[in-house]
Amino acid sequence: MEDFEPVIVAFVCNWCTYTAADLAGTSRLSYPKNIRLIRVMCTGMVDPQYVIKALLEGADGVLVSGCHPGDCHYINGNYKARRRIKLLKTILPQIGFEQERLKLTWIGASDGIRFAEIMRELVDQLTEIGQSQAKLKMVI
């Protein structure tokens, strides 16, 4: 399992984390290449089924990242997202997905450094727990 490279699907808010990722790129901060960024207009539009689909398709981890509380462009999308992630974090471990496989973070637009840090952290954590069961098993 030494050369295991986790795949991470990240749903990132256009107004903050996506910009932070961009900033990390333009400032030549290095962050792992394992991340597939999906730009969304707000974390409030991430339906639980997006996360479920990504995990069932074999993503080793899913990240949802948006504006800090109080900063959401649509006022409260991130608070709603937090409840949905809470819900998923209650369901997914019951069917064997480790807590670490789903992460919610708030990363502001100017936080390129934080973005790179969190990505590295996430890759480390996922490397440690290993491949997702969805990749190993036949998923019907």
Binding site: K53, Y79, L87, I91, Q94, I95, M138
Partner: protein, 380 residues
């Protein structure tokens, strides 16, 4: 404010007495119809019906151990707009609780509705019910009632209640019923307990001139014992189901027989979307897409997206699951859908301090939020 009233049982015949009670309600001037389970003239099939002619109430059968459909969805059709006329609905507790969930989603109204809850004696699975009536073509409901209420147990003629009913800790109508009909722990050869729980309920009962009674200690003990028994079964079911689905491989085995017919979602009273994404074009994939998926692991079970469907439904609906068991009832392949849903729902509902169907005052957890909550969920 609830008043405890009673009706006397005529000739020791509970069913006849209840029918007479419903007739008196239907004949009240401002009530146009009563929604209640009916033994259809063809076969021994039980179905809810909207009755306007009190003569047809002699086939009303609210206690038959048959539960082919959760009436909440039907009631939502009947009440989503005002018809200008008032109806009364006789419902099992889980139907009222499911309707409460639909009310919160504005998929029903109570303005012109009187909800009559009735103590639930449980029901058989659909297929078991037909076996039961075949064996007992005459007076099958009476046989069932006697067996349950005399304490001989829930098995009538060797057939036992559906697992959903055995695990149901809510045999009594919830508080938002206008009138509740009590049978458990009552001497039903002689009387039936009628509780008027709301002012609308009081008003009706006043017109019927019912005499007062007191809730007895026997009633309380009988209900408490039944609930304790149900909780014991339920918790065992939770533990067993948890062990059976606690990773994807096991969940796959659990759902292996699923053909994605989506009957379980159609039957579910709280699967509230008007159009389910799983039956839209989103899932009408390109043929090349299937081949692509198949090539990844060398095999793709068809129909595909089975786990995706069930886990998504758990995410969308487990918060509102009332445990009625209709999902299992509707499954052509005997998949224990209810067990899975109730087991997962126990955790999702308790994570938000929520209980489906408990109170109209509790908003569905995913429709609201607080600014300072679940801080541990987000990393900052």
């Amino acid at each position: 404010m609830a008043s405890n009233l009673k009706i006397d049982v005529q000739d020791k015949d509970l069913l006849v007495t209840l029918r007479e009670f419903f007739r008196l309600i239907l004949e009240q001037e401002d009530i146009s119809a009563i929604f209640v389970s009916q033994r259809l003239p063809m076969k021994n099939t039980i179905m809810p019906a909207l009755v306007t002619d009190s003569k047809t109430l002699d086939r009303t059968d609210p206690l038959a151990p048959a539960f082919p459909i959760n009436g909440a969805k039907l009631l939502s059709r009947l009440t989503r707009k005002s018809s200008g006329e008032k109806i009364a609905a006789v419902l099992r507790p889980c139907e009222i609780r499911a309707f409460t969930e639909l009310l919160k989603l504005k998929q029903g109204k109570t303005d012109d509705l009187i909800i009559i809850g009735i103590d639930c004696l449980g029901a058989f699975r659909n297929t078991d019910y037909f076996r039961f009536v075949e064996k007992n073509p005459e007076r099958s409901t009476e046989l069932f009632i006697d067996s349950v209420l005399s304490g001989k147990g829930t098995t009538a003629g060797g057939i036992d209640l559906a697992p959903a009913c055995k695990a149901c800790e809510f045999p009594i109508a919830p508080n938002n019923a206008d009138i509740s009909i009590g049978l458990i722990g009552i001497d039903v050869k002689n009387q039936v307990l009628i509780e008027a729980r709301t002012s609308a309920g009081e008003e009706i009962c006043k017109k019927l001139n019912l005499s007062e009674t007191k809730k007895t200690a026997e009633r309380k003990t009988a209900v408490d014992n039944l609930v304790a028994q149900r909780i014991e079964y339920r918790d065992k079911m939770f533990a067993e189901t948890r062990d059976t689905v606690d990773n994807l491989e096991k969940l796959t085995a659990y759902l292996a027989g699923c053909i994605n017919c989506y009957n379980c979602r159609v039957a579910c009273p709280v699967c509230y979307c008007k159009e389910c994404v799983f039956v839209t074009d989103v899932f009408y994939h390109e043929p090349s897409q299937y081949l692509h998926w198949a090539k990844r692991k060398g095999i793709l079970k068809m129909p595909s997206d089975t786990l995706f469907y069930h886990i998504t439904r758990l995410a969308h609906s487990s918060m509102a699951c009332v445990g009625c068991g209709q999902c299992s009832n509707a499954c052509p392949n005997e998949i224990s859908v209810m067990e899975l849903f109730r087991t997962v729902a126990e955790k999702t509902q308790s994570a938000f301090g929520y209980e489906a169907g408990r109170s109209l005052d509790e908003p569905p957890p995913l429709s609201v939020f607080e600014k300072d909550e679940f801080l541990e969920v987000a990393q900052t």
